[in-house]
Symmetry: C2
Subunit: 331 residues, 2 copies
């Protein structure tokens, strides 16, 4: 339990003032080389590390960003976080990652923590249960620029960056039509989520606009197991689907398990297409064709938006990152 070394301690040992030590350590031009060397050497020996709390308190600048997500486990969030991390490092910022676990209460706790820590800014993807975002909207006024990403609140005037749900869905729908699939099983997740609603809506619209309104059926699945079950049901009918669209990785894994179980031939017997951030589709053979929603690109967009806000031109903006098709051999 050795007490930590401070500027004061160094200044005492060297019989110089605290401020001289402080300056010497940050290579202030005013300091003589002799003094500077002396100080830096001793600091090195003593393993001096500046106290970040004291600095934050004094300068009122923590040089830290917060990232609040429902869960860090998905490939999407992971690539988003890594992307932000890369940029943050370049600018001398650190990252504080907080998980809300799909629980609005914990999410709120996390927001409070960010305020307590006087973070320089927050990136947040809200949980699917989040209803009251008033606390979040206050952040901007309290001098903590906030960028919503991916799961963003609807209709509010705040900074958002998100992936092109509509665009990605249309890419998929378009390919299904081009491939002349006539009996499409379109599987979506929890229909209470706005992301599901947007995708369902986009899918229906596109199909109908292209006179394909009679060639698909929409079903919902809240888990891989349910997705698996849905495919099972569809394959028991005499008129089996010739293609299945999975709106998420969760759905896709369920579907693929049943495909293996029933030994369904892909793509001959059944075409498969998904929307994904791109890790899961590569686990299978043939690899799954999907519309990509890139956490990495979104991270870059979000970060540059953040820096703009910090620079002091905090007008509100919604940015959408367009999606692209990645071809496997599954359709």
């Amino acid at each position: 339990m050795k007490p930590s070394v401070t500027l004061k301690k160094i200044s005492n040992m060297l019989n110089i003032s605290i401020s001289t030590v402080s300056r010497a350590l940050k290579n202030h031009p005013d300091i003589s080389e002799a003094t500077r060397n002396k100080v830096q050497e001793l600091a090195g020996m003593l393993d001096y590390v500046p106290n970040a709390h004291a600095i934050s308190l004094r300068t009122n600048n923590s040089k830290e960003f917060g990232i609040i997500v429902p869960s860090i486990s998905s490939y999407f969030y992971h690539s988003f976080i890594s992307s932000i991390e890369e940029e943050a490092r370049r600018f001398g910022y650190s990252l504080v990652i907080l998980q809300s676990g799909e629980d609005p209460k914990i999410e709120l706790e996390n927001v409070i923590k960010c305020k307590n820590a006087r973070l320089s800014g927050i990136f947040i993807s809200i949980t699917s249960e989040t209803e009251d975002i008033s606390e979040l909207l206050k952040l901007d006024q309290q001098n903590i620029p906030t960028i919503f990403f991916d799961k963003v609140p609807a209709y509010e005037a705040c900074n958002k960056v998100c992936t092109a749900d509509t665009g990605a869905t249309r890419l998929v729908a378009d390919l299904l039509i081009k491939k002349k699939k006539k009996k499409i099983l379109a599987m979506f997740g929890n229909q209470h989520l706005s992301i599901t609603q947007v995708r369902v809506q986009a899918f229906k619209e596109f199909m109908e606009q292209h006179n394909w309104g009679k060639k698909f059926e929409i079903v919902y699945a809240h888990s891989p197991a349910q997705a698996s079950e849905q495919l099972h049901l569809a394959f028991q009918k005499k008129n089996k689907p010739d293609a299945v669209f999975c709106m998420s990785d969760e759905i896709l894994t369920g579907v693929m398990k049943r495909v293996q179980m029933l030994k369904i031939q892909v793509p001959e017997e059944l075409g498969i297409i998904a929307i994904s951030d791109g890790s899961v589709p590569q686990l299978y053979y043939p690899e799954i064709t999907y519309a990509e929603t890139s956490g990495f690109k979104l991270g870059k967009l979000a970060f540059s938006r953040m820096m703009t806000c910090i620079a002091g031109t905090p007008f509100v903006q919604s940015i959408v990152d367009e999606s692209v098709l990645i071809f496997g051999g599954s359709i």
Copy 2:
């Protein structure tokens, strides 16, 4: 840009002293109910949030733990982190998650950050490239209890908790023998990693002890693609394997891709068994039988070890979490 509200501001508005406000806010028994209500009400209206940096500075206790990992993306680390998070919350601690991206330089930067932030303790899983851990060993002396987990340095006197590599490998080997597999393909990862060496060693030893030394072949793969290729090669020979052992998820995904490609029947044609933390094996049908290394359990162990250290009985200890077999239908 409204300036943040502080105790001083509240005390001015109410014409009472700062210390009274401070006490009132934390329900100090000395304070009269009238004053307390008055203060708490105003603080509520003003959205007062205590400045965590000031508190840390004053109390010399950040109530934060750091977790440093190569990457948060794996299911193992994710479950470890979530497990720690759960406990930390119960004790009023927050978590700072830092990724090193398999880069010792960034890892070192992260350690420095933890020191700067005067964290209350650190959980760290070192990168496979980490060689110089002197900076890490200093942490304990500098009053930052450090728990190494999963990827731990060899031979050093420090607190470690890790999964039972040897135990898990033996469980697998034992089942392979019980199933009377005679032509086992045992696939391991990067042989420079100590985790690989330990597992290979344990596997060989167990097999030889049980007179099964002639019935397996060991190969190495550094990526899913290489694992896939290895299986391909094995299946081109006239004497095909009747079982494959995958020492990690990475290997398993590569193997499974080739299994799908070659339409190999599992388990009739080929038995499959793995060591995994338990997310990937469930993606397939039949589900893969595996020896589980649980991040969740390890997290609990690590946390309780941390609390012991903080309580001030910091003797060094190595804890190993035993593994169990989870049965799918793959062998």
